[in-house]
Symmetry: D5
Subunit: 96 residues, 10 copies
Amino acid sequence: MLFHVRMDVNLPQTMPENQATALKKTEKDIAQGLQESGKWRHLWRIAGQYANISVFDVSSVDELHTLISTLPLFPYMQIQIMPLCRHPSSIRSNDA
Amino acid sequence: MLFHVRMDVNLPQTMPENQATALKKTEKDIAQGLQESGKWRHLWRIAGQYANISVFDVSSVDELHTLISTLPLFPYMQIQIMPLCRHPSSIRSNDA
Amino acid sequence: MLFHVRMDVNLPQTMPENQATALKKTEKDIAQGLQESGKWRHLWRIAGQYANISVFDVSSVDELHTLISTLPLFPYMQIQIMPLCRHPSSIRSNDA
Amino acid sequence: MLFHVRMDVNLPQTMPENQATALKKTEKDIAQGLQESGKWRHLWRIAGQYANISVFDVSSVDELHTLISTLPLFPYMQIQIMPLCRHPSSIRSNDA
Amino acid sequence: MLFHVRMDVNLPQTMPENQATALKKTEKDIAQGLQESGKWRHLWRIAGQYANISVFDVSSVDELHTLISTLPLFPYMQIQIMPLCRHPSSIRSNDA
Amino acid sequence: MLFHVRMDVNLPQTMPENQATALKKTEKDIAQGLQESGKWRHLWRIAGQYANISVFDVSSVDELHTLISTLPLFPYMQIQIMPLCRHPSSIRSNDA
Amino acid sequence: MLFHVRMDVNLPQTMPENQATALKKTEKDIAQGLQESGKWRHLWRIAGQYANISVFDVSSVDELHTLISTLPLFPYMQIQIMPLCRHPSSIRSNDA
Amino acid sequence: MLFHVRMDVNLPQTMPENQATALKKTEKDIAQGLQESGKWRHLWRIAGQYANISVFDVSSVDELHTLISTLPLFPYMQIQIMPLCRHPSSIRSNDA
Amino acid sequence: MLFHVRMDVNLPQTMPENQATALKKTEKDIAQGLQESGKWRHLWRIAGQYANISVFDVSSVDELHTLISTLPLFPYMQIQIMPLCRHPSSIRSNDA
Amino acid sequence: MLFHVRMDVNLPQTMPENQATALKKTEKDIAQGLQESGKWRHLWRIAGQYANISVFDVSSVDELHTLISTLPLFPYMQIQIMPLCRHPSSIRSNDA
């Protein structure tokens, strides 16, 4: 089941740089693990923003919430979620 | 080059049904042709909305505008465009 | 899987009264059938609005979209959907 | 009498972790007591948000305000309230 | 129980003048009856707007919805409702 | 002359508790004095909010501004003002 | 007493041209009469908009509402009103 | 050439009082000088707000920007600017 | 003097096609004449929108308003104007 | 390929003045280098705002993102991007 997720990151300017670097490193590792597992199906940077557009492929809403709310940057992100479904005009096997 | 496009369709309630059907049929044919050509890379329905989320892969902004503004439903759609770029944490070859 | 849905109905003032009555009658029948089947778990009127708050219990996003987009009033409704999940402080068996 | 309540929690990033943990523990205890008493009828987590959707069943607006404004997290929450009433198409005895 | 209600009226410009006049006359009669009964406690015009601010005193949300949704101008009004309660600094007996 | 005023209070979380208590005490005393004088005609709490709806009865806009801007909580409040006038359907002598 | 008023005019595209011309002519006559009387103290066009910024000088809110709501274009205008008062740094006698 | 300017002032609550007092004093001196020179043509307080409505009369946009951006309170103000022009219904010589 | 203008065009769907074509032809002729004269300095299409971003170079606000409000599509356009001035970091002679 | 960019700068009030001065100096140097190279085609100050309107001419979205996200003020700016394309009515060779 697919969900469209937009994440806007907003690290506090008072956060020490090494803490920020460590957080981003862990975030990247987790994000890449989830991509490998197929759960995090797409990940793009929005140009000019510290934000991304993602598509998650999960088996339940609870799984989606667990994945997102345990990301290290979650406390510093604003999240918007839209459930997606197959478009009747789509011919692409990997959009279902 | 990737662009994230949201299209909200709003056909006037006074449009005759056969005209609406014909428009949608042509739209579908064009959308499928563009998917086959690789220009319209992703196409999802937003659940509960007469709207879609799409990702286009074009070689220029002018090409993007031409593709979208010549869709048969263009006069009845509200369009939002965001340029996308590769995310530094992405490991998926097909997200670039 | 639970989804929170808000539906705002806006019938065109030019719609003949018997057509409106027929549409609402069919809508009611379908809504009651879906409640009986357990798919439409909650249904409340928002005070002072021609709008409702609903909770759907479906097995997939596609099922949710199909249920909502085939309602007779769908062309006249504005729909907002939020995926819900179990709250860690909830003790109610019927909120999962 | 039913009220639809959305609560968005926003703890200050400067709050010491043990204070946050204590606040959440007390909040949870109170929330569960109110659920047991039937005052807090439904409680769901909104996916991807530190926020919940709740339905309260109270005998007056003053009671509703007292319940909400004495929650330990109240100073850190943004609250939206909508009065609900029985929907004419509802067949569920527990939605009144 | 008190509710703060804002009503913005928007009659369609195509409505025949005698129909508009009749609707407003009936609306006024009902509004005055509800004021006499004490249900419609306050009624003010917002300066420069075809809109009013009202305070209703009802025994339930269902009663509030019934009063408002049966007003003749209801199909042409946008309604916003906020539940009110006694303010701890109020000394006015008629604000409870 | 009547003015509808909404006040949303937002005390900084860093304010010492005794300072907050003192401010609120003075605010309450002034608010009650203005109610006794008839200048502050109505005062209600919005349910679930640290906010109030008030109606002021003043002889000029300058008087209104002076009353509001000298409240002890003024630096911490967001204020919205709408001028009110008598509604043609009102039958209540105390709404003019 | 001064009030800042913004008026956005939106004549329906179906209004016959001679009706529009007549409405605007009457509106202009009334506006000029009110300027001569001193009630309509300032009147500017907002560049690029069919809209104006005005300052009214009236003795009560009821007078303001009567003046505005009897303008011939009132049914076709969106109105925003803000009460003004003397600024402590103002040295201009005609801004009070 | 006339420009309509709204300035909302928002001094940080951590600013020492003597610094705030000094800033306001300098601001007032400059504002009065600009009024005397005719550049700052009108200045009103918006009732209930720490904000003003002003009309500037300048010979260029660059001059307008220089005047506003060198005000002592500029770093603490939110500014909105609208170019004004003569209204065809205006009869006031001092509104051009 | 430079002004940034955004124009969103919204032709009514009931306008006969030959009328629309004629309007656009006249609009284009005037727009090109103003570009040749240097008054309309820049003109771009916003991708995916029936809208443009323009920069006008005029000697007064009145001239700007006259140019824009006499465009044939003016009654069907939503206009947003922002005054521009030279940026201190600009090195381009044609941006002043 | 052209992109319309609006940048609103918001330096934290706690930033030491010499740090702010140094940041702005580096920003200016980079901005001028990009103008010389032709990548940053236009740069204007919005009157009354600490904000600019820019037009970038880049060969890809990735290049645009790299240019903007490496600006020294990027962490303190809010960025809005719109892709532009040639307008069919444009006659200016330098708007393509």
